[in-house]
């Protein structure tokens, strides 16, 4: 049940036919994990908090540094040196005190991933490297938790939604290990991609719209174009190949 404060706060989105008060209640009951409180995690956390997600589980092990601030808008100059999850929690609570923030200061590994994602309704991929993305992908497949992929470089980004056992997963596209890099990026790119991921999470939780399942959406900020590619499940995928449709 929504409180009078909540009805007032979320009035503009409750007005949306596809949301309404029942949809708002569904958002309130949801727990969403965001893996990473950086460039993608910032817009995802801010917009999910603003939208009234019940519980946000934010996982990051890093400290805020000056070089984060061109894109990681959860954090500011006064947060430099602080744990990102602490900085994020303060920012998110100041935005919406009604959202429960579960801030976890851990590095995501194969050993702890199952515990970290336990009880979540959705997982947002806001990582900055491929190996950890695959750890998240495998966990999402095993726990059958929808997984919302996003990645950026420069002015370019991509997003895809993974419904375990129903649509292509990140590993279906795997072609072998890729060297880690210090990637160039301008903040508006993760702003676009993180917002697309967040839109997908909200659509999934509400059961509305067409998800980016089996659809890889590419964004080219320089050309100002979106391009869509079809991606199919790989029956030999080592993460999801064993799952029936």
């Amino acid at each position: 049940m929504l409180t009078p404060d909540e009805l007032k706060r979320y009035d503009r989105q409750i007005m949306i036919e596809e949301i309404g008060p029942k949809g708002q209640e569904r958002l309130k009951k949801a727990r969403v994990a965001i893996a990473g409180a950086g460039g993608l995690g910032s817009p995802a956390a801010l917009y999910l908090t603003a939208a009234g997600i019940g519980t946000l589980r934010l996982i990051d092990h890093d400290l805020v540094s000056l070089s984060n601030l061109n894109r990681q808008i959860l954090h500011g100059e006064k947060d430099i040196g602080e744990k990102k999850i602490d900085s994020a929690r303060k920012k998110l609570k100041s935005l919406n005190r009604m959202v429960e923030i579960e801030a976890i200061d851990e590095t995501i590994t194969e050993a702890n991933i199952s515990r970290l994602m336990e009880g979540c309704d959705a997982i947002v991929d806001a990582m900055d490297n491929l190996p950890t993305r695959y750890v998240l992908n495998r966990c999402a497949i095993e726990k059958k938790i929808p997984f919302f992929h996003g990645a950026v470089r420069g002015f370019e980004g991509r997003a895809m939604t993974i419904l375990p056992g129903k649509s292509a997963c990140l590993r279906c596209l795997y072609r072998g290990p890729v060297a880690e890099e210090k990637f160039p990026v301008i903040g508006v790119t993760p702003a676009v991609i993180g917002s697309i991921q967040t839109t997908e999470v909200i659509k999934y939780l509400l059961g509305i719209g067409q998800l980016l399942t089996n659809r890889l959406l590419m964004y080219d900020g320089l050309e100002a174009i979106f391009t869509e590619f079809t991606v199919n499940r790989n029956p030999d995928c080592e993460h999801c190949g064993m799952l029936a449709d």
Binding site: G39, L173, P177, V178, V185, L216, F229
Partner: protein, 90 residues
């Protein structure tokens, strides 16, 4: 017979800035070889060695993933190939 290859922004330095290149071939592999004949710099950009694409290079045929076994996939007149570079930043 002509197939259009869309060149990723980071590879256009090897194609004199061209965003698309017309190629010929019966498979994606043949088309990429024709691309390299025209622009030799593309070889190192997309292949680690003969018939082995870089792990970060993704190939799409008519806006659908050609993975796995991309290079042997047949193509026909009017087809479009996109060469995309995988992203990992966040």
């Amino acid at each position: 017979m002509s197939i259009k290859v869309h060149i990723h922004a980071t590879h256009r330095r090897y194609t004199n800035g061209q965003e698309t290149v017309a190629v010929e071939g019966k498979t994606i592999g043949e088309c990429l070889n024709h691309l390299i004949q025209q622009f030799p710099g593309m070889e190192k950009a997309i292949f680690t060695k003969k018939d082995k694409l870089h792990n970060v290079v993704e190939v799409y045929l008519n806006h659908a993933s050609a993975h796995p076994n991309e290079l042997v996939k047949p193509v026909k007149d009017g087809d479009e190939i996109h060469l995309i570079v995988m992203l990992s930043g966040g």
